[in-house]
């Protein structure tokens, strides 16, 4: 191992962080939209949202990446879209589907009486959702969001297969130059650990705090794993 490796991998890690942050940001927006649609009063909207979420949850994220790059890429080649943004798009679709289930569980955990109270005060359904229900659902969703962020960070390594120069791709190149796969990949794993372990601790703390504060347990068994 040489010190130059650290520097090379650090450059890749910055791309990984950028990729993850954009994906998390877009995922929150898309997931919120899916979650709201999936508790809609209109059956058609509700069913469509749930079908799309289930379908997205069924497709492997790696497949979404390959489709975006080799599939879509063929048709939009003249636009010169950076693979980075294709990866952001594909990862966002995959992660948002899971995040929307977390948001939906948060919304559904708000007691029906809150809706009724809002209605009796003359709130329409939309403004009741925006001003009374959704704000209460934010805090219980935080542990799930932190968990999802960890998954997004790990899944961003898949973008290496579509030539995004993030840290895994950089490590692959390093391996092809040095022929030392064991050392390079161990070091790479170390890079991921250094970023993830603090967040894992944070997720645990957030979960404990929320469980104690609300006395409720939002069931995550079906959504805590891609």
């Amino acid at each position: 191992m040489q010190w130059s490796w650290l520097h090379i991998l650090w450059v890749g890690l910055q791309v990984t962080l950028r990729l993850s942050l954009y994906t998390i940001g877009f995922s929150v927006v898309v997931a919120a939209a899916f979650a709201v649609a999936s508790i809609s009063r209109w059956r058609l909207v509700r069913w469509t949202a749930r079908f799309v979420v289930d379908l997205l949850r069924s497709i492997p994220i790696l497949a979404l990446l390959i489709f975006a790059y080799y599939g879509l890429g063929k048709y939009i080649a003249s636009w010169h879209v950076d693979p980075f943004w294709m990866a952001v798009g594909a990862l966002t679709l995959g992660e948002a589907a899971f995040l929307s289930e977390i948001f939906r569980a948060g919304l559904e955990a708000i007691p029906r009486t809150q809706w009724e109270a809002a209605e009796s005060l003359g709130f329409r359904r939309t403004s009741a959702l925006a001003r009374i229900i959704a704000p209460q659902a934010v805090l219980p969703s935080i542990p799930g969001l932190v968990n999802m962020s960890i998954f997004t960070f790990k899944d961003s390594s898949l973008a290496s297969v579509i030539a995004v120069p993030e840290v895994t791709q950089v490590a692959n190149q390093l391996v092809s130059e040095t022929f030392k796969p064991l050392q390079v990949y161990l070091l790479l794993a170390g890079f991921y650990l250094v970023v993830i372990l603090p967040f894992t601790a944070l997720a645990g703390l957030a979960e404990k705090a929320v469980t104690r504060y609300y006395g409720l347990h939002v069931d995550k068994a079906s959504i805590a794993r891609n």
Binding site: S58, Y70, K154, V161, L186, A189, L193, A224, R225, N226
Partner: protein, 215 residues
């Protein structure tokens, strides 16, 4: 290549995907149980070791674990094929998640059951295996089904080390024939047909288990 030929090629890949997922599922269920039992009854060093190993496995991307075993281990003289590497790595990585769910289900059994087991002369391991585990099994059904669902999807990672599963073949077909839309459609339909009913079924099982737990 016609759409029919593409479909049959991808279905062959689907068989390999099923092999990977089923193999890794078996690995995950047993190794996960071993991790959970080690954390439950082991001595302090064993407990700490099990806790750190599962934490490390959960924090490393599966793709990198796969590269470590497939590209890294041969330099130590351990050379396994792509299929074996995929089954073992994906299985052990998933086991680190299953261990948590096993533990959570063990906690649902009241402490008094353990005390009762011990007072009847069972060892700690005996109490766990013959008294606690059978009562906790109900709460393991949903996590284990989830594990399979998750492995069906992570099996695609094997394409990165050249195992001809569904996505590997799909990618080849796209590049060789240019029938991009056909390949994407077939892959989506195959995964949708396999996973969407499973997702619904799991949520039913989860609801049943939860209702039983809280009533």
């Amino acid at each position: 290549m016609t759409t029919g030929e593409i479909t049959s090629d991808l279905l062959h890949g689907g068989v390999t995907t099923l092999e990977i997922a089923a193999g890794a599922w078996a690995v995950s269920a047993t190794v996960g149980l071993a991790f959970a039992m080690a954390r439950d009854v082991g001595m302090l060093p064993v407990r700490l070791a099990a806790a750190s190993v599962t934490a490390l496995l959960r924090s490393t991307p599966q793709l990198i674990l796969l590269y470590l075993v497939f590209f890294g281990l041969p330099s130590l003289g351990i050379d396994v094929g792509g299929l074996t590497a995929a089954i073992v790595v994906l299985g052990v990585a998933d086991a680190s998640f299953n261990a948590e769910y096993y533990r959570a289900s063990l906690i649902t059994v009241p402490r008094t059951q353990r005390d009762a087991g011990m007072s009847l002369g069972f060892s700690r391991l005996g109490t766990l295996a013959f008294v606690v585990l059978p009562q906790a099994m109900l709460y393991m059904v949903a996590p284990l089904l989830n594990s399979f669902l998750s492995l069906l999807k992570t099996a695609t990672l094997a394409s990165a080390i050249g195992v001809p599963e569904i996505l590997y073949r799909g990618q080849n077909d796209m590049q060789l024939t240019g029938h991009v839309v056909a390949v994407i459609a077939v892959v989506i339909v195959l995964y949708g047909v396999a996973c969407m009913p499973l997702i619904r079924f799991i949520s039913v099982v989860e609801r049943r288990a939860r209702e039983r737990l809280y009533t």
